[in-house]
């Protein structure tokens, strides 16, 4: 056991690509925690998808033993944090497990919005923050400018900002000494009933749910009956230990330590991030603060391209959920797309990741409908209904108002793009808040923007209009009543549920036009003229027509080649089978997929 006075629990706050994983690798290497031959790039990012995208989705932790020259050995626990706005709750729980944070910034880029948001979060949580500038070996590095920016945010002087190169290892030994010297040891009470914070949990096929925990008070023994206070689940601590970085089973975990806990429980839903672990009998009475239920922000329909794959999709979602308690879903039936699910996600990235994992790991072909947020529909009898699918919107006759979630957005941009950003935000129905100059050339801007506008294409627009220089972070804000309407798309006078959407009245026409034009191009000509209409209630706001097909007959049969003729017809027949019937109109599956693509 390590004396709590010689434990340092910390995380690294950094923007994507600013070198967090490389620095973690270097720390492991310099302290000898991982032999050089065992090094694989980016130890902490275990999921394939994470490595590919260079981002961290699930938190991890690693314990490092470090002996400063002439001093005692210290136990440094590096707690990895997710680096995306979708996972801000997970970030907050990771921060809660630490006493300190390294604020890591790319010397050629400067601080970005998410990093700043997380830095603020760390400061608010009472963490000691060490400013570190990375990539000083790069030719474009401007450590002085970046140091000034960091001091502007954190206070102090530029002398306190450490300059390192995670790539070459320059400055890393100094950083280790700084961690020991500057970060406080863990607090808590040793002889109190044990309390541990679950800051991450994941499902392992062989071991069941593995919880990453931070001991706050007392001691936990292998074999103890433990209780998860939020879900009130009791189980035996079958295995406890630390990861340095491979799992090392131990008999006890003490105050201040970071490790893992395995109970044999298989349902991740029962062992949630943010929960407090204590003893089943004579345990703590007060849980640690800050727990909250995962709250989906973005919703989308997920349907198998091939209706026969519905069962496989259900199995895949069940399996994914084992490892991702923030994923929620329920069965949904679409007249156009058949049987599928309505799923809720923490954000757009989360949605994209789930979809990609379903397609990649479970080999499914999927159609996903346009993402939507959760609205609050108030009816004339005063009832408020939560609506996450346009289909569930109450009838117009009884609908009094619709409220939509807003988010508080922070954007950091070079000052030359301030006008561009303001213009974009205005188009997205945003309301201007504070604006602060971080330095003469960089500005921090605050807005209230409807979440629905953010989930659509705000991020892409922001990036492209500022040539990639602006960055974004947001947190949920209150609901507000807006002038929202449901736009339906009618094919040959039949509404196609998959294309219905809830939008602001000012944008209804634009949506209707775009969708009907796109469908006219995507749906092949039929035996009769097919009108495509966009409608709000009974009012048509846009119309296109697919003209009737006049000719499909192929030319003569070649020298009596009936077999070939027959094969052509067979092919056409197979094509027909893949069509979905919307009323009397045959719509190819691809048309739904292409029309629902939002990236165009």
């Amino acid at each position: 056991m390590t004396d709590a006075a010689r434990i340092r629990n910390f995380c690294i706050i950094a923007h994507i690509d600013h070198g967090k994983s490389t620095l973690a690798d270097r720390l492991l290497e310099v302290t000898g925690a991982v032999e050089e031959r065992d090094m694989r790039a980016q130890w902490l990012d275990t999921m394939d998808l994470e490595r590919e995208r260079g981002i961290t989705i699930k938190a991890n932790s690693v314990s490092i033993r470090y002996k400063p020259e002439g001093g005692d050995e210290y136990l440094l626990n590096l707690i990895d944090t997710p680096g995306h706005v979708d996972f801000s709750y997970e970030v907050s729980r990771s921060l809660a497990a630490c006493e300190g944070a390294l604020l890591l910034v790319d010397a050629s880029q400067g601080i970005e919005a998410q990093t700043l948001a997380n830095a603020y979060l760390a400061i608010e949580s009472g963490l000691e923050v060490i400013p570190v500038i990375n990539k000083i070996d790069l030719p474009a590095a401007d450590p002085e400018r970046v140091a000034k920016e960091m001091v502007g945010i954190l206070g102090g002087t530029t002398d306190e900002v450490l300059a390192v190169s995670a790539k070459t290892g320059a400055g890393v030994p100094e950083l280790l000494d700084m961690i020991v010297a500057k970060l406080p040891p863990p607090g808590g009470v040793s002889d109190a009933p044990p309390r541990a914070l679950v800051f991450d949990s994941y499902y392992d096929t062989y071991r069941g749910v593995v919880c990453h925990i931070r001991m706050v008070d007392g001691t936990l023994n292998k074999g103890d009956q433990v209780r998860f206070m939020a879900t009130d689940v009791v189980a035996a601590a079958d295995e406890i230990g630390i990861e340095n970085p491979d799992p090392l089973p131990l008999a006890k975990l003490h105050r201040g330590e970071v490790g893992y806990l395995i109970t044999g429980i298989k349902e991740i839903d029962l062992l949630r991030v943010g929960d407090t672990v204590t003893l089943a009998t004579h345990g703590a009475t007060e849980p640690l603060p800050g727990y909250s239920e995962p709250k989906p922000m973005v919703f989308s329909g997920i349907f198998p391209t091939d209706g026969d794959d519905f069962e496989r999709l259900r199995d895949a979602l069940e399996k994914l959920r084992l490892n991702d308690s923030s994923l929620v879903y329920r069965a949904e039936t679409s007249r156009a797309l058949g049987f599928g699910f309505r799923a809720g996600f923490l954000g757009l990235l989360h949605m994209e990741i789930v979809r990609e994992r379903l397609e990649r790991e479970y080999d499914l072909d999927l159609v996903t409908t346009a993402p939507s947020v959760e609205y609050e529909a108030r009816t004339t009898d005063g009832i408020v209904k939560r609506v996450s699918s346009p289909q569930d919107l109450p009838d117009r006759a009884v609908l009094e108002s619709i409220a939509e979630p807003y988010v508080k957005v922070m954007i950091i941009t070079p000052s030359s793009y301030v006008g561009t950003v303001m213009e974009l935000v205005q188009q997205k129905r945003g309301e201007m808040g504070e604006m602060t100059y971080l330095s003469p050339t960089r500005v921090e801007m605050h807005y209230d923007i409807p979440l629905a506008e953010i989930v659509f294409d705000f991020f892409d627009q922001l990036k492209s209009r500022t040539k990639g220089y602006a960055s974004l972070d947001y947190e949920p804000g209150p609901y507000r009543t807006s002038d929202l309407v449901r736009v339906d798309i009618l094919l040959n006078s039949m509404p196609v549920d998959a294309f219905s959407t809830i939008v602001h009245r000012d944008k209804a026409f634009q949506y209707g036009r775009r969708m009907s034009t796109r469908l006219r191009e995507l749906i092949p000509r039929q035996l009769f003229d097919v009108p495509i209409q966009a409608a709000i209630g009974g009012r048509i706001i846009a119309r296109e027509t697919i003209k009737a097909k006049r000719k499909d007959v192929t030319a003569k049969c070649y020298g009596g080649d009936i077999t070939r003729k027959r094969k052509l017809l067979e092919k056409q027949k197979e094509g027909k089978k893949r069509m979905k019937m919307v009323g009397a109109v045959e719509v190819p599956q691809e048309a739904f997929i292409s029309a629902l693509r939002i990236d165009e």
Binding site: R550, K551, V553, Y558, G559
Partner: protein
């Protein structure tokens, strides 16, 4: 005399036996053509005359290998360019086929010819050989369109060829419509001039882009493709005017005067049986559909070895459904037979009826919009007994 579009004639034709002889040689390869063709410049085709001699010998071998059969009601020489081998070679083939299978006295003996090959001598030679019908590859009477189609004759030559053949032969005129660049006016003029000559028969096919052809390559590389609506307009124009020349549409693309329907054509769509001789030829005998190899060297080698130059054969798993999809191309439609019940309840058929594409009357399905025949065929394929 039975009307070209009558049920009686169609039923009669279904029982006719016929034979098809393929002559692959062409002066040049037309950019849209997907038939088995041998043209100068092809690998192994340096000496076309020598190759032709070997080919004719192989054809006679193949005819000899075919087991005896019932008398033929139609014999059709297609290509390629059958007129290119001269009337003497044609006469010998007719002679051989007649001695091997016998040819009905009133049989149709038909040959395809390019307008530039037509001469008094050719016509006299063909008539002497027993040919009574000629199918002229006129395609268009607009020189610009003929150029675009890669044809080697002019509109004037085509008119002259038609005029030369009309006194002595039953004349079929083959036309192509919807070539990119062909205006509606150009097509109307082609139709009007053709009908003014009162041919016995007109076949008009929409230009189709077949995979692998020169046309296909140029369309793939960005050249204009035929437009379905333009072709529909042109198709409708001919349909409207054909009656002026006493022509009746009896199949999607074929019109004739009474007594001049192409027997081989009508028999094919009536699921009739036929022998196929020559490169890439198809036969249908005793319920088996067989096809010959398409490569000239493989064809020659097989025949010279004494083997049938066959590339493969198939037995139709559902001959009834085949009868339906073929028969639908005829104006008189097809008797639904044991599929009548299925057709009356099928949602696809219902759609076709609602859209005015087909009608069902007294157990027969008739296609009212012939340009959508493939749509109908694909629907009918799903009907089970």
């Amino acid at each position: 005399m039975l009307a070209p579009d009558s049920v009686e004639l169609a039923d009669l034709a279904a029982g006719w036996r016929s034979a098809y002889v393929h002559i692959p040689f062409c002066r040049r390869r037309c950019p849209y053509c997907d038939f088995a063709v041998v043209a100068p410049g092809d690998a192994g085709a340096d000496d076309i005359p020598a190759l032709t001699d070997r080919y004719l010998a192989a054809l006679h071998t193949e005819i000899e290998m075919e087991p005896e059969w019932e008398p033929l009601a139609a014999l059709n020489f297609g290509g390629g360019t059958p007129s290119a081998i001269g009337p003497q070679a044609i006469a010998e083939l007719i002679e051989h086929i007649g001695s091997r299978f016998s040819i009905d006295p009133g049989a149709e003996v038909s040959i395809e010819a390019n307008p530039e090959d037509v001469s008094e001598e050719l016509i006299a030679g063909l008539v002497a050989a027993g040919v009574n019908r000629i199918s002229l590859g006129v395609q268009s009477l607009d020189d610009a369109v003929l150029l675009a189609l890669g044809r080697s004759h002019t509109a004037a030559e085509a008119v002259a060829a038609m005029e030369a053949c009309l006194p002595d032969l039953s004349v079929g005129v083959d036309l192509i419509f919807g070539t990119p660049g062909e205006s509606l006016g150009s097509w109307r003029s082609t139709v009007d001039q053709t009908l003014a000559l009162f041919p016995h028969h007109v076949s008009a096919y929409a230009l189709t882009v077949e995979t692998g052809t020169q046309l296909w390559k140029s369309v793939r590389d960005g050249a204009a493709a035929p437009d379905a609506d333009d072709q529909a307009d042109k198709y409708e124009y001919l349909m409207l005017r054909a009656g002026d020349a006493n022509l009746v549409r009896y199949e999607v693309s074929n019109y004739s005067r009474p007594g001049h329907t192409c027997r081989y054509n009508l028999a094919t769509w009536g699921q009739g049986e036929y022998l196929g001789f020559g490169l890439g030829a198809h036969g249908h005998r005793d319920g088996v559909r067989r096809r010959n190899v398409r490569a000239i060297n493989a064809y020659l080698a097989a025949a010279e070895r004494g083997d049938r130059p066959e590339a493969g054969s198939e037995v139709e798993p559902d001959p009834e459904v085949e009868r339906l999809i073929l028969g639908l191309r005829r104006t008189c439609g097809v008797d639904l037979g044991d599929r009548e019940q299925a057709a009356s309840t099928d949602s696809g058929v219902r759609r076709l009826i609602d859209a005015g594409v087909v009608a069902i009357e007294r157990g027969r399905m008739v296609v009212l919009k012939p340009l959508l025949t493939d749509e109908v065929g694909a629907t009918v394929l799903s009907l089970s007994a």
